[in-house]
């Protein structure tokens, strides 16, 4: 999810599921698969059980991984004399500042045909929105940043 304002741009992963709805979903999956496995165990086919258990663990893990990152975000703020990039991963916030005048915005060829967006100055660089944006969104963001920086710098 990408939102662009004049001097602030935020990229976040899509997060359309609430924790409560995911819990309900997982619970119903566990009950349903559990009943099936228990039913077959009852007639002697106990080997269904470990497979069902293993699979449910995987499902839960997948949701945990995704939900843990639901509050992640990346923010670019264009301020008076600096550009600040604020990155929040699993609740840990990290700030990186570049001198606004010297800030470069570059779009590179990434892996698998993805592009990658880098902000930097001098010999330091940071990637922005690696998994939360599409190529087109990167194009848009790059042109927005370049336009705004130019305007501010002049």
């Amino acid at each position: 999810m990408l939102s662009i304002c004049e001097t602030q741009c935020i990229a976040k992963p899509n997060a359309s599921a609430s924790v409560a709805s995911v819990c309900k979903l997982l619970l119903s999956l566990i009950v349903f698969s559990g009943l099936i496995a228990l039913g077959f165990m009852h007639i002697g086919a106990w080997m269904v059980f470990p497979f069902a258990g293993l699979e449910l663990v995987l499902v839960v893990l997948a949701f945990v991984v995704v939900l843990r990152h639901r509050d992640d975000y990346e923010k670019i703020t264009l301020a008076e004399d600096y550009v600040e990039i604020e990155q929040c991963v699993l609740g840990k916030v990290k700030h990186i500042r570049f001198q606004r005048y010297w800030t470069r915005v570059t779009l590179r060829e990434g892996e698998n045909g993805k592009t990658s967006l880098w902000l930097g100055s001098h010999n330091q660089e940071v990637e922005f929105g690696r998994d939360t944006m599409s190529n087109a969104q990167r194009d848009e963001l790059v042109s927005h940043l370049k336009r705004t920086l130019q305007k501010l710098n002049n």
Binding site: I36, G44, M47, F51, L58, V59, A62
Partner: protein
């Protein structure tokens, strides 16, 4: 998810190219393309196997192969078509289209997605390797029990059974990984404003499919593992002499196997209404009714499994329960058929190839559905069971209802995926050849089945000769006409008339708002669903 990287300038310049790019890709479109390509290749492989069988059955007597090899071909044909052609095709569409339709940059778990695909090719190799090994004198060929693995025959069988069991495990892992990814994507990656009841029907179809896979794959995995331990480690799950029961395997297998039919069909039922509304230039009728019907079918599919083995004997109340619950599947299906036809009704229809396939699909799948209703009757099932009548029935549901639906999807989305229009004339020719030769192949099988020809026999009595000959001729035309599809796809990928963003005049949905082909990562502006 965001990752922080502070790096020096030149470190990020090297990227995998060539084969490594495909091995490591996590891009949903790359993976979708790989699934679809794999599916097409395996469709041709499975098709060649069945042409071998139809050639043998062209006339009475043993001409080309011995009965052992015949038995191997029928089983492997089925496994390949189900697990390596139909399922990957549906997964391929899911990978390509779900993120586009839901407005997401990619699937929720891209790395998992990559693993899910790369498990498939080795399992296809495992399945077919015993054929090659037998040429070198190792083992006695592939699985010769039919795709159903019924013990005690599968306990008696050779090396091929073990290979098939491992292949099934891998295929199962692949399906489960795919399903998990799809469930997470649908739940968590929808664009703001897209509530569940505003999702495209294709997403609904796949969501239910994924639930069914999650519920049933462990049962199949358990069943084949018990078979493996019965074969090699002295357990007696399916051996009466040791206190087991061979019929328990059938319960396990079909508890997976019947939902599997809907696993193959639900994604198709998802996108068919989307194609219909495009070419009828009229919104689909009864979206909610269709969603509820899909759920109804999904729910019923897990409680009707034993109708696959009425003939194995069970108490009368069980027979009646499974008969009536099976008949009940026709209720939600009737609603679906009604909605499809009501979508066409008073539309402004044009008949490009995807629409031709869709209309043909409705009619032929209708035959499959109606014969299925008749098959639910326990008394008559004693006659139909394991006869060619059943073979014809499930090819009407799985070839017409599955593969022809997939073909409709291929022609529908091909311009979007490649950016080029396919050859419309060839597409239409492909449709007519497929539809006609399909019927020439399978209508005679209804009749030989009724007359008393059992399935899975390498040679038959003289009274079945004429219908078998017609069926074989039909099968060869059917097989050869698929080369048109291959040619059309290849030439469309390589070039052709540029496709517009919208491609079809009446197309509705987020995927049609993007350029064709869509950029590697999809949405410029966050799409907002009203």
């Amino acid at each position: 998810m965001s990752t922080t990287t502070v790096a020096h300038h030149d470190e990020h310049q090297e990227h995998p190219t060539g084969i490594m790019r495909w091995l490591t890709t996590t891009n949903h479109k790359d993976i979708g393309t790989m699934y679809l390509t794999f599916s097409l290749v395996m469709f041709l492989v499975g098709g060649c196997m069945i042409l071998g069988i139809r050639a043998e059955l062209f006339k009475p007597g043993l001409q080309l192969m011995n009965p052992e090899f015949f038995n191997q071909l029928i089983g492997v044909h089925a496994l390949i078509m189900i697990f390596a052609a139909l399922m990957p095709a549906a997964t391929g569409f899911a990978n390509w289209m779900l993120p586009l339709q839901l407005g997401a940059p990619d699937m929720a778990l891209p790395r998992l997605n990559n693993w899910g695909f790369w498990i498939l090719p080795p399992s296809a190799v495992l399945l077919t390797l015993p054929f090659t090994l037998a040429l070198f004198g190792i083992g006695d060929g592939a699985l010769a029990t039919g795709w159903t693995f019924y013990p005690p025959l599968s306990i008696q069988g050779g090396l091929g059974v073990d290979f098939a069991i491992f292949a099934i495990h891998l295929l199962g892992i692949s399906s489960v990984l795919g399903s998990i990814n799809i469930i997470v994507t649908i739940f968590n990656m929808r664009a703001p404003g897209m509530t569940l009841m505003k999702m495209p029907l294709f997403a609904w179809g796949w969501l239910i499919t994924a639930f069914l896979l999650i519920a049933t794959i462990p049962v199949l995995a358990g069943a084949v593992t018990m078979l493996l331990t019965d074969r090699h480690f002295g357990t007696h799950f399916f051996n009466a002499a040791g206190g087991g029961d061979p019929i328990m395997f059938q319960h396990l297998f079909w508890f997976f196997g019947h939902p599997e039919v809907y696993i193959l069909l639900l994604p198709v039922w998802g996108f068919i209404p989307q194609i219909l509304q495009t070419f009828s230039r009229k919104p689909m009728y009864g979206y909610k009714a269709q969603v509820y019907s899909l759920w109804g079918i999904g729910a019923l599919s897990v409680v009707v499994w034993a109708h696959h083995f009425f003939a194995a004997g069970m108490p009368v109340p069980a027979l009646l329960y499974f008969m009536y619950s099976t008949m009940a599947i026709s209720l939600p299906l009737a609603v679906l058929f009604y909605c499809w036809i009501r979508t066409m009704w008073k539309g402004s229809m044009s008949f490009e190839t995807p629409m031709l396939f869709t209309v043909g699909w409705i009619i032929l799948f209708g035959i499959g559905g109606l014969t299925g209703l008749v098959l639910a009757d326990v008394a008559a099932d004693a006659q139909y069971h394991n006869s060619y009548f059943v073979v014809a029935h499930f090819h009407y549901t799985l070839f017409a209802g599955g593969i022809m639906g997939i073909m409709a999807g291929v022609y529908y989305w091909l311009p979007k995926m490649t950016g080029h229009m396919y050859n419309e004339k060839l597409g239409k020719l492909h449709f007519w050849l497929t539809a006609i030769s399909f019927n020439v192949t399978f209508i005679p099988q209804f009749f030989v089945g009724l007359a008393g020809m059992p399935r899975r026999i390498p040679d038959y009595a003289l009274q079945f000769a004429e219908f078998n000959m017609i069926s074989s001729i039909g099968a060869f035309v059917l097989g050869l006409s698929q080369l048109l599809l291959v040619y059309n796809i290849i030439s469309c990928v390589r070039g052709g008339q540029k496709a517009t963003d919208r491609v079809w005049e009446g197309a509705v949905g987020l995927e049609w708002t993007l350029p064709s082909p869509p950029p590697y990562h999809s949405f410029t502006e966050q799409p907002v669903v009203k």
